[in-house]
């Protein structure tokens, strides 16, 4: 007989094993879905997960997509660790892109080494401003941060739409919904000839290192951990709860804003209607899949980035809608949450002794 028993302590080994289990289960479920749709499961999975990254160009595209995911997820892990549900990173990304794009447009006909740092800084500040709205409303007006941060996503996309169609649209652009091209000095340099991967990846890596340091080596990291476990304990210990809420929101806003900078100053070099294919939402999954751990998030961002590429390849070669990527992303999170059951419970085999 098998009995389910609660573990005395969550198992550490399983903590890092379940994400792998979740990916595995997602592949199986994905194969089944492909089969139902009338495709050969193995071939479809190959097109989805292997073909896109089989060459140099594909690998560069993978890193290109993983960069914003990693950056945003690192920021979100500050929020999630401390029990703050910022789910509006997509809005913070968009607003960061708007502010940095606006600054880049000011310098559109100038060159100079000082331009890029200003543009990057502007993006981070833009993201922070936007993230501060749910943070301040949560701390001082007791307002639900989930709903506020989400509503602001819609608002930011409409602001962007207004700007690129209206006041910021390229005067020589034949009314296309896009701005002027930024000057070369406002662009993140490309790393390799012929590939689209750009210097934004260093921003993501820097975020990984800094977050690791903050989480595990500073008092702030400790405070966040305690508040994540129990807000009561945190209060009892005398932590400044309000300050911390605002701080973690600002950090995650800055990261999302930087991701926005990467999107517009990288390969594209201008503002247009769709700066992000929902990176801000997908990064939530990345954060969880990476176990809110900086190194875990690197791996998770690579795995989830494949679903973007795979969806594109599958659309081209098999006429599978590109939304399949989202289906996979949803499933990964489902399976991950489900396999967390193993963290807290174990199956105990009870002998048939009589």
């Amino acid at each position: 007989m098998i009995k389910i028993v609660k573990r005395d302590q969550p198992s550490k080994a399983i903590f890092f094993f379940t994400p792998i289990l979740a990916i595995f289960l997602t592949l199986i479920a994905g194969g089944i879905i492909f089969y139902i749709l009338g495709f050969k499961p193995f071939e479809a999975l190959k097109f989805f997960f292997i073909v896109p990254i089989a060459d140099k160009y594909g690998f560069s595209e993978l890193l290109l997509k993983a960069t914003p995911l990693c950056l945003i997820a690192i920021g979100l892990s500050f929020c999630f660790k401390s029990n703050n549900w910022n789910i509006g990173a997509e809005g913070q990304l968009t607003f960061g892109a708007i502010v940095s794009g606006g600054v880049a447009l000011l310098f559109y006909d100038q060159e100079g080494f000082y331009i890029l740092p200003i543009v990057i800084l502007a993006g981070a500040i833009g993201g922070m401003i936007y993230a501060s709205i749910p943070a301040i409303l949560k701390t001082y007006f007791n307002t639900n941060e989930i709903l506020v941060s989400l509503m602001l996503v819609y608002v930011s996309k409409l602001i962007l739409d207004y700007l690129v169609v209206g006041p910021w649209s390229n005067p020589e652009g034949f009314n296309f919904p896009e701005t002027r091209q930024f000057s070369d000095s406002a662009r993140l340099p490309l790393l390799f000839e012929g590939l689209r991967i750009h210097a934004g990846i260093f921003l993501a890596l820097a975020a990984v290192v800094i977050s690791w340091f903050v989480f595990y080596k500073t008092y702030l990291g400790f405070q966040m951990k305690v508040s994540g476990f129990s807000l009561k304990t945190a209060k009892y210990a005398g932590y400044k709860g309000k300050k911390m809420i605002i701080l973690v929101f600002l950090i995650s806003g800055a990261c999302a804003g930087l991701a926005g900078v990467g999107e517009i100053t990288g390969p594209i070099g201008q503002l247009h209607r769709e700066v992000s294919p929902d990176y801000g939402f997908t990064a939530i999954i990345v954060a969880f899949l990476g176990r809110l751990h900086p190194v875990g998030i690197i791996f998770a961002s690579l795995v989830v980035a494949i679903t973007y590429l795979g969806a594109e390849t599958a659309q081209i070669f098999m006429q599978i809608p590109k939304y399949t990527g989202q289906v996979f992303q949803g499933m990964i999170l489902f399976f991950l949450l489900a396999s967390d059951y193993l963290l807290f419970f174990k199956f105990k085999f009870i002998g048939t002794k009589k």
Binding site: K6, T143, G166, F334
Partner: protein, 310 residues
């Protein structure tokens, strides 16, 4: 200026029509939340309902099968959420988000073959009475059955929660699962039922959108209505009657936006479109500022997992 009184009636009726999906989804979510479960997957369940209703209508040709099929689809997808949060004790917020992401993806996948197909006419009731009473006729008559159901639902929901024994049990489970459990109530079963009911209502809300309100399938056609429905539940302080008021305000904002454009008000269209979202935030701030009031009306165990060792 002479205002045609029937025109006023028509505007009110159109506000009510745009409030219908919000009322349905909010009332469903309200029951779910009253049992202590926070399901952020409303948007996902709604879009699944929308595509299921539209697809079933196109394939079977039967409106009844389509409407009930959409509700069933909502139930099925919410079963995933129920199983995860209740049986596997997962985090409500994360699971709900996964449900929304998954729902949007699956709906687009199914909907691929239904883009651009025209919808069917949905029968309306009391059409003969449309010109009888000035002002009131367009408001009262000539709507679909789902419309009438939606406006009755807040009252039914209120009666259910206040006056029936099952309603009392739902509230008890939401406010104190421990004591309810000690009284012999199967907390998990009640919560399962409330989640599935919420799924059915979101499914119906989606079907209303794709079959009656704008009879066609467009990817992502719920456009954040599921999230506004969630906000409405907070707005209502978990009181179904107030959902009615909130939904009318948001319906009004949507409709005003069209009319302002029509009469040529020189405000960028994007700002008008953003209005419902901005107003939602403002309303949430005003409602939530009084933290004592919110604490008193929020189901005490909302969003917290309940695990009973047996």
């Amino acid at each position: 200026m002479i205002v045609d009184i029937n025109f006023v009636g028509l505007i009110i009726a159109s506000i009510m029509a745009s409030a219908v999906p919000l009322i349905l989804a909010s009332c469903g979510e309200l029951i779910t939340e009253r049992s202590g479960v926070l399901n952020l997957g409303v948007e996902g369940m709604m879009i699944i309902g929308a595509i299921s209703g539209f697809a079933l209508m196109t394939v079977t040709g039967s409106l009844i099968i389509a409407v009930f099929g959409a509700m069933l689809a909502g139930v099925l997808i919410s079963t995933i959420f129920a199983f995860l949060t209740q049986t596997l004790i997962t985090n409500h917020v994360a699971t709900g988000l996964a449900l929304t992401i998954f729902g949007i993806g699956i709906s687009a996948m199914i909907g691929k073959n239904f883009v651009g197909i025209p919808g069917k006419e949905f029968p309306v009731l009391f059409e003969g009475l449309k010109d009888t009473i000035p002002l009131l006729s367009p408001i009262l008559f000539g709507h679909s059955i789902v419309f009438y159901f939606a406006f009755a639902l807040p009252f039914i929901t209120s009666y259910f929660l206040k006056k029936t024994k099952i309603g009392l049990i739902v509230r008890a489970v939401g406010d104190s699962p421990e004591s309810a459990s000690n009284q012999g109530v199967n907390v998990r079963l009640v919560r399962y039922a409330c989640i599935l009911y919420g799924g059915a209502m979101s499914g119906l809300a989606g079907a209303y959108l794709s079959m009656i309100y704008t009879p066609q399938w467009i990817e992502n056609m719920t456009g954040g209505r599921g999230w506004i429905a969630l906000a409405l539940v907070v707005f209502s302080t978990w009181n179904p009657i107030k959902i009615l008021i909130g939904a009318m305000i948001f319906g009004g904002l949507t409709i005003i936006q069209f009319h302002m454009q029509a009469i040529g008000v020189r405000i960028p269209v994007q700002f008008l479109t953003a209005l419902p979202y901005i107003v939602t935030i403002i309303v949430l701030v005003v409602i939530s500022r009084d933290s004592r009031k919110i604490r008193l009306s929020t189901p005490s165990s909302l969003g917290k997992s309940f695990y009973k060792d047996n």
